[in-house]
Structure formats: structure tokens, C-alpha cells
Symmetry: C2
Subunit: 285 residues, 2 copies
């Protein structure tokens, strides 16, 4: 149970957490905080939060758990604003898609040290739609939530955050920060980049209207993720740069090899490559 | 109505055409032909075809319409076998994913000239599963079928093939051969290549098991097409090489630009690029 939970950024991620915890009767009071009053009013009207404020200092007063669900680019500013007003027992956690970046933001604000009561986390769940209107109570049900404790993380704080996510129906696991960032770069960030870039390439083609007219189901599945929130994906590209560049370079190198196989008409290498990929794909789903 | 239809290659594409035309009572007799007797027997047992033979010469005897649904790499060999045995009034058509390649195969076999009764075609429909067991009667319902007549194509032959596809519920359109090949390279062939290559890159990573363990819904949608038939995709890469290399080069160049934006932390360019892509994606679906 959490007495008072404050959520910074009541959109898809923050709003869905609030709805899930409310359904589980896991919180006494859920407070929303963000810069935009209209968004917060909408969240309150939808019954997602109990009350709200646009003042971060007011928001964290009396809060037992502080959940940061703002864009990655806003985390450091929020932390700087609340730093001197957090209750001594309060636990901070977040839902950012790139953990080294949030860790660095926290260290910068908290005098070079990661606070022991700050538990880095990331729910692996989402939708193409964003905003509190897209929030649903079962977003995290049976989805993975990855917590990335660092050496200084307080075990009790970790357990409280783990139990909070468990109450949403999520499967909670832990990974090292670097491991998380590389795995997410590979399975989520790179696919989004490729989907955006494919749509972009086709849109700039001289026959773009025809191209989209004949796009079939496979194309629509493949590019669904290109309908995601551009601001979030800009932030992810900026904040998980190292891991993304690493996996993007591997991909580009392999793609160049495949291009060469196509150019040289090397059917045998193409077949081996496609067979292995199909085999892996069929194995994992 | 077609009196006698012979289908070369009774798999997903050929089998689904047979099932759709049977449901529409559009054919008197549907004959299957391929190299593998077991596949043909299975098609007959499933009620997809009326009878079969492994001998192409026997198959085309008395046939009014000949539909080639073999892999692209087999089209020329089949055409060479049946060339001197086709009924004078018979119409040939096909379902190959790359039209210049089939045109070239036909011209090679038919003494340098595209036969007037050969109507190049391509149903834009498919499933990840292949084989006659995956064939369904409604595969083409409300899907596009693109016919790519050349200057010598007989208009009556074109009309007969158009009506055949219309009977399956498909929306039939015509395009020039080159136009078709470029559009398909962009909307279908490139996405498949990217999906195969992404799975491949991740499978060869040192943390591949972890990577696939944390892959979420977006990844599964994005890579669904990497479960498609590797032989078919090898053939497509070989047979639509020119158009694929053209669109792949455009993609690689744009991706390199995006990579540079990430490396330089150019959030403004990244945002513009993602916003435009999202806008295009939302517009087309």
C-alpha cells in the first residue's frame, strides 16, 4: 500500500499507473503534477488522479512515492525543483526508456551521487497513442517492468517499487543499467528508428502517393510504431545515444552485407540469412 | 466463367485463387500441377483442386487459363516446358511479385517477344504461412491485384484475367511494369529485408537471448514479416534487384543522415523527421 503517490507527467504511462493502482486499491491518494493545468484537469475529470497541482514543491509535500513519467528531457529539471522538498522517507522512481540518462540526471542534481531511495525503472509497455486519454488500467498487466538498481540503491526502496508494479499486474525483473539500455536500443529504439525512416524515405519518393496507395497489411504492421509520439522518440534518441549508435552501426553494417549479396545475386547467402532470421523469429514468438 | 483453369504451384497463392474461384462457381475444372506429387495430393484432399498431374505438358492440354504461381525462379523453366503445348486460345497469367523478371522470362522463352495472351499480374496479398494448408478462400477479398499489361498485351486477354480476379473479391488495378516493381520494392520488399536483417542482427548479438526475452509487442509486429517464406524472399531479392537496390540505397542514405543527427544530438532535426513520418503514417492508414 502507498499512502500518497505523486505522479509527474500524467499521460499514457503515468495515467495508466494511476488507473491500475486505483483499481488494485493500492493508493490512498494520487496527486498529479505537470506544467499544463488543462492536462491535469482532464486527468482529474477522467478519475485518474484525486487532485493536482502545477507546483512541484507543493506536489511532493507529504508524498511517500514520487513517480517521474515526464519526457526524458524534463527529468533533470523536475528533480532540481523538488530536490530540497522531498520527504526524508520518500521513494523516487521513474518510467524513462533510457536508464543511464536518468541516472546521470539524478546524479547531477543530487551532488554527484545517486540517491539511495531513487529506484530507476522502466515499464515495457506502450501504445501508439499518447496522453492521459489513451491511459488504461490494464496497460501493464502481464507486461515486463525492468528495474535497474545501482550499487547504492536501498533494498527496501527497491522492494516497495517492485510491489507497486506487481500490483498493476506487471512482471517485475531487474537488469543492470547498461544491459537495459542496450537491450532496449536493440528491441525497441532501433525498430522505431527504422520504421520512422522507412515511412520518411517513401514519403520523400517522387511516387509517394502511389506507394502508399498500394501498401499492404505487412507494411502497416511494420510501420505501426512510426505513429508513436515524436517528442518521446526524439528524447530517446538523444538520451540513449550510446547504445542506439552501437546497435545501429551493427545493423547498418549487416544491411550493407545483405545489399552486397543482392547486388551480386548471391542467392545462397540470401537464403541462409533469411532462413536463420525466420527460425529465430519463429522461436521467440 | 473459366472452363478449365490450370494452376502451376498450388501453395498459398495458387491454392487461395482456386478456393476463391470455386466458392464463386467461376471454374468448371481446376487442375493443379507442380513437381511434388505429395503437395498436389494434399491440395486435392483439401478440395482445392479437382485433379492434378506432375507433367506440365499434360496439365496445359485443354486449359483455357494458365496461372503461374510457382516461385519466381521457376517461371522460366515452366514456360519453356509448356510453350509448344499451350492451346491457341489459352491465356497465361501469373502471380509473381516482380513483373520485369517474369516479363523477361517470358520473352526469353517466347523468342524475344512477350506473347499477346500473357497477362502479367500480382495479387497484393499474403500470409506469413505458406503452402496449400495456409490457403484460404478469402485471401484476395478486398485486396488489390495489380495487372501490368505491356504494349502488346491483348485487351480481351486482359479483361478475362481482370474478371477472374474480380470474382475472388479483389480490387483490380493496372500499373506499368517498372512502376509496379518500384512500388513493391518500397512498400513490401524493403520492409521484409529490414525485418529479416533486424532479427538477424539481434540474433548475432552477444546478448541475443536477453534481447528476445524483453522484446515487446511493437517488436513482434515489426518483425512479423520476417517469418515469411525465405525461398520466396530470396527469389524476390534476385528477381527485383534493380528496384530493390534503388530504394535500399535511398533508405541507407537517409538512415545515415538520421544516424548523424543522433550522433550530433540534433534534437530539432530528429523531431522534424519523426513528426513528418508520423503525419504520413497516420494519413495513409
Amino acid at each position: 500500500m502507498i499512502n500518497r503517490l505523486v505522479i509527474f507527467g500524467v499521460g499514457l504511462i503515468g495515467g495508466s499507473l494511476a488507473m491500475a493502482l486505483r483499481e488494485a486499491n493500492y493508493c490512498q491518494t494520487i496527486v498529479g503534477c505537470s506544467r499544463r493545468q488543462t492536462h491535469l484537469q482532464q486527468a482529474k475529470d477522467l478519475g485518474v488522479i484525486d487532485c493536482f497541482t502545477t507546483d512541484p514543491v507543493v506536489a511532493v509535500k507529504g508524498a511517500d512515492v514520487i513517480f517521474l513519467a515526464t519526457p526524458l528531457s524534463a527529468m533533470q529539471a523536475v528533480l532540481a525543483q523538488i530536490k530540497d522538498h522531498i520527504e526524508p522517507h520518500a521513494i523516487i522512481t521513474d518510467g524513462g526508456s533510457a536508464k543511464a540518462s536518468v541516472q546521470q540526471a539524478a546524479e547531477t542534481v543530487f551532488d554527484g551521487k545517486m540517491p539511495t531511495h531513487f529506484v530507476l525503472g522502466h515499464p515495457i509497455a506502450g501504445r501508439e497513442k499518447s496522453g492521459v486519454g489513451a491511459a488504461v488500467a490494464d496497460l501493464y498487466n502481464n507486461k515486463k517492468v525492468i528495474l535497474t538498481p545501482v550499487s547504492s540503491t536501498n533494498p527496501d526502496a527497491l522492494e516497495i517499487v517492485r510491489l507497486m508494479w506487481k500490483a498493476t499486474g506487471a512482471v517485475v525483473e531487474t537488469l543492470a543499467v547498461q544491459q537495459h539500455d542496450y537491450i532496449l536500443a536493440a528491441t525497441s529504439h532501433l525498430p522505431h528508428i527504422l520504421a520512422y525512416e522507412l515511412v520518411s524515405t517513401l514519403a520523400h519518393s517522387e511516387v509517394s502517393d502511389d506507394i502508399f496507395r498500394y501498401a499492404a497489411g505487412g507494411f502497416q504492421d511494420f510501420t505501426r510504431i512510426a505513429s508513436s509520439d515524436p517528442v518521446m522518440w526524439r528524447d530517446i534518441c538523444l538520451e540513449n545515444k550510446t547504445a542506439i549508435l552501437r546497435v545501429l552501426d551493427e545493423f547498418q553494417q549487416n544491411l550493407a552485407g545483405l545489399r552486397q549479396n543482392i547486388e551480386q545475386g548471391d542467392g545462397s547467402s540470401l537464403l541462409t540469412s533469411f532462413e536463420q532470421a525466420k527460425c529465430e523469429r519463429d522461436r521467440i514468438v
